[in-house]
Amino acid sequence: MKNKILTLTSVAKQYGQLDALKDINLVLEEGEVLGLFGHNGAGKTTMMKLILGILKVNSGSVSVFGLDPNHKKAWASRKKIGYLPENVSFYDQLTGLQVLTYFARLKSVPKKQIIELLETVGLSEAQHRAVKTYSKGMRQRLGLAQAFLGEPKLLLLDEPTVGLDPVATKDFYHSVDQLKSSGASIILCSHVLPGVEQHIDNAMILNQGQIAASGSLRQLRAQAKLSVSITTQGINGTLKEVKSLASFMVASNQLLVPESEKVNVIRQLMMFDNISDISVESASLEKIYHHYLHDSKGESL
């Protein structure tokens, strides 16, 4: 059994009359990466603020490293938390190095790490330039370096890949995988979905402050009954002659198969002697996301 890093129990938060979050339950284990998805205003940022102890819950409870994040005792554990806010423009007149030095001092992180982190995010060259000369992507990378300070055990990243070019995005996910393997738990908050799938263990989709879906991608796909698309080469003509397969056909060489039938269908397809190629594509995260959001919209109408 892995350690629970973070537990949210029937958490609710209101801003005045507005329900920002309602009945949120979540357990995050050591080394787990959770993708938190939802449209703007779905409550992602509020949830992060609750976990960080900036806001207080109206009901329910939050426990981070076994402590209420608002409690005085939880202060020490803040050193083990890294946070990248959604919109942050750092002190413009300072250089990248100065900004990072300031934050490192506040977290009591040794100087050596600053240099390493600047290297990791690819800002070594620009470290002596004022932040106001940085591009959007460079600012984002500085923000990431800031979040990675002090080898955090819990990372909350709000839209981490916004403004990053494909190479930097890849580097970022590489860092995420590294941190994960060193035992850090990570919450990735995003509405940019492509690319994130391979790096998350579980996903939670929020809609208007409520959980629309949560679980591993496999579970979500199964729940949503989203089909797997299988494309074959070399057996085009003969496919429709097999009765058990014909019902799944959408094109002469493409099948849409429910997750539960996937392995069965592939097994049958492999029986064909003249099959030359096969590609199996599970429903993308984007499809799952849209499925759950439209679904819940349908209910509320």
Binding site: L55, W75, V88, S89, F103
Partner: protein, 272 residues
Amino acid sequence: MNPIQAVALKEFQDGLRNRWLLSITIVFSVLAIGLSYYGSLASGQLGSPSLSTTIASLSSLSVFIIPLIALLLCYDSFVGEQESGTLLLLLTYPISRGQLLLGKFIGQGCIISLATLLGFGSAAVLIALNGNVAEVFSAFSLFIVSSSLLGLSFIALAYIISLVASEKSKAAGIALLLWLFFVLLFDLVLLGLLVGIEDGLTQQGLVQVMMFNPADLFRLINLSALQASDVNGVLSVAINSEFNSLTLLIIMLAWIIIPLGIAQLIFSKKSI
């Protein structure tokens, strides 16, 4: 490094980087040197004015400038960081709101105090070169201490503004109004009361009302230490009071601590 130290150091370095320290120091020293050499021209005399006249005219000019500088330096301390999102980020770090407030106060307070010390101090050294050294230093040390306290008090007031205002531009507006109130309006109203209503305010009452304005307090501290003959206006009535400089300085200290306390209270209740 202790988080208070880290914040104080950053704010102080910001003050150096923005040339705040340098420019305030220059303003103060030019002001002091200028007044000590040419101050008597205003009263129609030629030649170097007496030390009391210099201090008297210096304090009536400083009372306008120091609060303005303090407010300018600090009005965006919190609202500025809130707008850029760094305040939210800082609060997720292992630093309490009280520590952040105190750190900023120490850092920016050092800028003002150091500028007063260097600016007025350099003038004092110049004046002492052709005058009575002991006399100059005792007069200027009280002046420098009270100037620093005045600056610190307005820094604390600026923090309240910065924490209450939702936007930087609003904070600037409120800061300007606050400055007008304490530096101009307050005295006008007081003068009106004194002249307009007979027996409305006794001398004792006047001095007590002045305790409610750090700017007036600053004037009182400096002028009550001088010979009454060098002081004209409303204040000459007030300075014959029995308050000594030390009591007044302690009240001035309260003008720093209480606004800081209020700022902390507002900060702790503020949702980011």
